[in-house]
Amino acid sequence: MLTSMQRYLYHHRTKWVGFAFILPWILSALWFDLIPFVTNLYLSFTDYSVSTSTPDWLGIRNYREILELDPLFTKSLGNTVYYLVLGVPIRLLAAFAIAVLLNLRIHALGTFRTIFYIPSVVPLVAVSIIFFGMFNARYGIFNQLLILLDLPPVRWLTRPEWIKPAMVIMSTWGFGAQMVIFLAGLQGIPSELYEAAEMDGGSYWHQLFRITIPMLSPVIFFNLIIGVIGGFQVFASAYVLLGPGGGPLNAGLFYVLHIYNNAFSYFRLGYAAALSVVLFLIILFFTVIMVRTSDRWVYYGDA
């Protein structure tokens, strides 16, 4: 074992080594993140369309328009938050629960895991078509089940109030990636911990809450952050299922759809850039809060 002093000295000696490890990423970030980011930051103060000539400087006019004149800014942000608050926890819980079950010693384990991952490999075009069929009020499987259970059928895609729940259902179905991450995380929990708990006569639920969840917290943290960052940017699935307008009464017009329409339907790339900078700041704010509060509940092996 090294003492903390030895570790400090070691790291001090090798402090530039870390940069070598992340050098390729830094190059990629400079080219493929920094350039687009700075470009967008600059464009957000202009009236840039797609032209090659220099755009006019507008100062903060785009930002004022967002806050003062654009009814779809609040609408789309509200839709996005609704989707996020409902969708992220459901998806996380479903992925976690299934991952725990699929980490047991059971028959046909590989088959079950593959089945639960299937939805994640279906191309999005096909997913949207399938769900279009399943959400049909008359012929779709969801309403046929509801009728079977003696519940009133629902207009999934034609009533504004059902659009977002429908989107949550569709996205929950594709929880495979989170499930795989949880599964991978479950492998890292040393089995001695469970054996020790067993000696003490701890129940399964006791083990789940005292060992599995704390030991899995770095992965839960990861999935939460990614879920929130991704949830704010929900786009492709909504676009293919609802179209750029987001369905009736813009009920499924999510924030990035609004950006998309400004960028590629109106070619107001300056305004779209301003919208995206605002979204960037919103996401950054929540991410910093989550990272800052994470040391209260996330346990790392190297802590």
Binding site: V50, V125, F132, A137, R159, P248, L249, F264, S265, Y266
Partner: protein, 466 residues
């Protein structure tokens, strides 16, 4: 299957009827002259052959039709090689925007009218007026005036139109079987809103889950509203494209009728939309092909869809018919009217960064495709739909296949070209939202239109002042 007119027989018919006409005189040489020129050109060094990328979205069953037209062009123009670059539909706008911004763009890009205006306004396109003048073409003599004007922005021409920007809303399709089953006379199509409402009441049937047989769906969005607005002698925007006019009394009356009809006859907008959910007029399960829909309000592309999707129905012309768009019978100023160029209205533009030789070649192909009888005319004829080149629609073969062809031509003549600006896409979305709000009862039609007009006017003012 009545329509199996080959290209050759079409050309025979077309050749006879078109020889004395402007299109034949102005465009590239007709079929008889073509081989001669082809032979001559073959003598020229083949290294001169210019290759251009023609980026378009005529995919699926239209791709072979386009290939045929390109082959015709190659027969007559051995100096230009056109590569038919059909792109996947999804991501179309991103693809077009990046292509136009590229250092090395395709020589010809298919764009919607509003996109053409947007790109033209940003000086990203080459106007074709000089080319047109050099080739001695008089576009106003060849094309319907609404059609060619849809491709002009601030006095400059950027493309020839194709397909028709009009013909989207001027006519409707009806299903005679459905009408007969409801006890209506299938040979007397409706001409007014009032007749349409009455007929739909007789046809529409509902059960617990919604509509099972529908008279008509009036549609929503800017085009849905716009098509009825012009049938009430209303106007979307002033002819100089500076003043929003859809919130006029005619506009309010139109939207009130649409909402009332939808609520009363169809049981609400969600009922109406759900009836069509999961299907489209290119799939065999669409209610219209299955005798579940009385009136279908759609564009002339429906002829091609009918041929491809339900050939039996297309062949049996006693099962379907075409009428001119109904108008408000209570308004003495109103009459049949179609709307052109409010949305869609495709053209083919040459990006500004295209090198001279490629731009020349692109125009050469555009001229053939836009004006020649073996170009766009044939492409549209093969889909059973009219051409923006008026003369091509006189082809007798159209009448042989389609007993309603004269109605189609009348409806094309009734088309009004709406004046639009590069910001029309935004205005369209505003109108789509307020029409939705009226349908869902969030605002009265009058309030919804007032709100939409205020926002649209702000967008327009900002554009004209900028």
């Amino acid at each position: 299957m009545a329509r199996k007119l080959t290209r050759r027989s079409f050309l025979k018919v077309a050749g006879v009827s078109a020889t004395t006409l402007a299109v034949a005189a102005c465009a590239a040489p007709g079929p008889a002259a073509a081989p001669a020129e082809g032979d001559m050109a073959e003598g020229a060094p083949s290294a001169e052959r210019v290759e251009i990328e023609f980026m378009n979205w005529w995919g699926s069953h239209r791709e072979p039709l386009m290939d045929e037209v390109i082959a015709n062009f190659h027969d007559m123009n051995s100096d230009v090689q056109v590569n038919n670059s059909v792109q996947p539909w999804d991501g179309r706008a991103e693809r077009a925007a990046t292509a136009v911004a590229s250092n090395n763009p395709p020589a010809l890009i298919m764009t919607q009218r509003v996109e053409t205006y947007q790109f033209a306004h940003e000086n990203l396109l080459i106007p074709i007026d000089d080319y047109v003048q050099a080739s001695g073409i008089d576009p106003d003599a060849i094309f319907y005036s609404g059609e060619i004007n849809n491709q002009r922005w601030q006095g400059q021409l950027y493309s020839f139109p194709l397909p028709t920007g009009g013909g989207n809303t001027g006519q409707y399709f009806y299903n005679k079987t459905v009408l007969a089953e409801a006890g209506l006379d299938p040979e007397t199509p409706v001409t007014t809103w009032q007749e349409l409402t009455e007929a739909s009441r007789a046809i529409t049937q509902k059960d617990d889950l919604g509509v099972t047989v529908m008279g008509a769906n009036l549609g929503g969005g800017p085009v849905g509203f716009g098509q009825w607005l012009y049938g009430n002698a209303g106007q979307f925007v002033s002819d100089d494209a500076r003043t929003i006019m859809f919130d006029s009394p005619q506009g309010i009356e139109t939207l009130e009728w649409m909402v009332e009809f939808t609520n009363e006859v169809n049981g609400g907008i969600d009922n109406a939309n759900e009836f069509f959910a999961g299907t489209s007029d290119t799939s065999a399960d669409h209610p219209y092909y299955n005798d579940k829909l009385g009136f279908l309000f759609t564009g002339v592309w429906q002829f091609g869809h009918l041929q491809a999707t339900d050939p039996d129905m297309w062949a049996d012309t006693s099962t379907w018919g075409v009428g001119q768009m109904p108008y408000n019978g209570n308004n003495s100023d109103a009459g049949h009217a179609g709307v052109a160029g409010l949305a869609g209205s495709w053209g083919y533009v040459i990006p500004a960064s295209t090198p001279q030789d490629l731009a020349d070649a692109a125009y050469q192909w555009l001229e053939f495709f836009g004006t020649h009888e073996q170009g766009g005319c044939l492409f549209l004829f093969n889909q059973g739909r009219p051409s923006p080149v008026a003369q091509c629609n006189e082809n007798a073969a159209y009448y042989d296949d389609n007993p309603y062809w004269s109605v189609v031509l009348k409806s094309l003549a009734s088309d009004v070209s709406v004046a639009v600006t590069p910001v029309q896409a935004r205005i369209n979305d505003v109108v789509g939202t307020v029409v939705d709000e009226a349908y869902f009862g969030q605002h009265s039609p009058a309030d919804a239109l007032a709100k939409g007009a205020e926002e649209s006017q702000r967008i327009l003012d900002e554009f004209w002042s900028g």
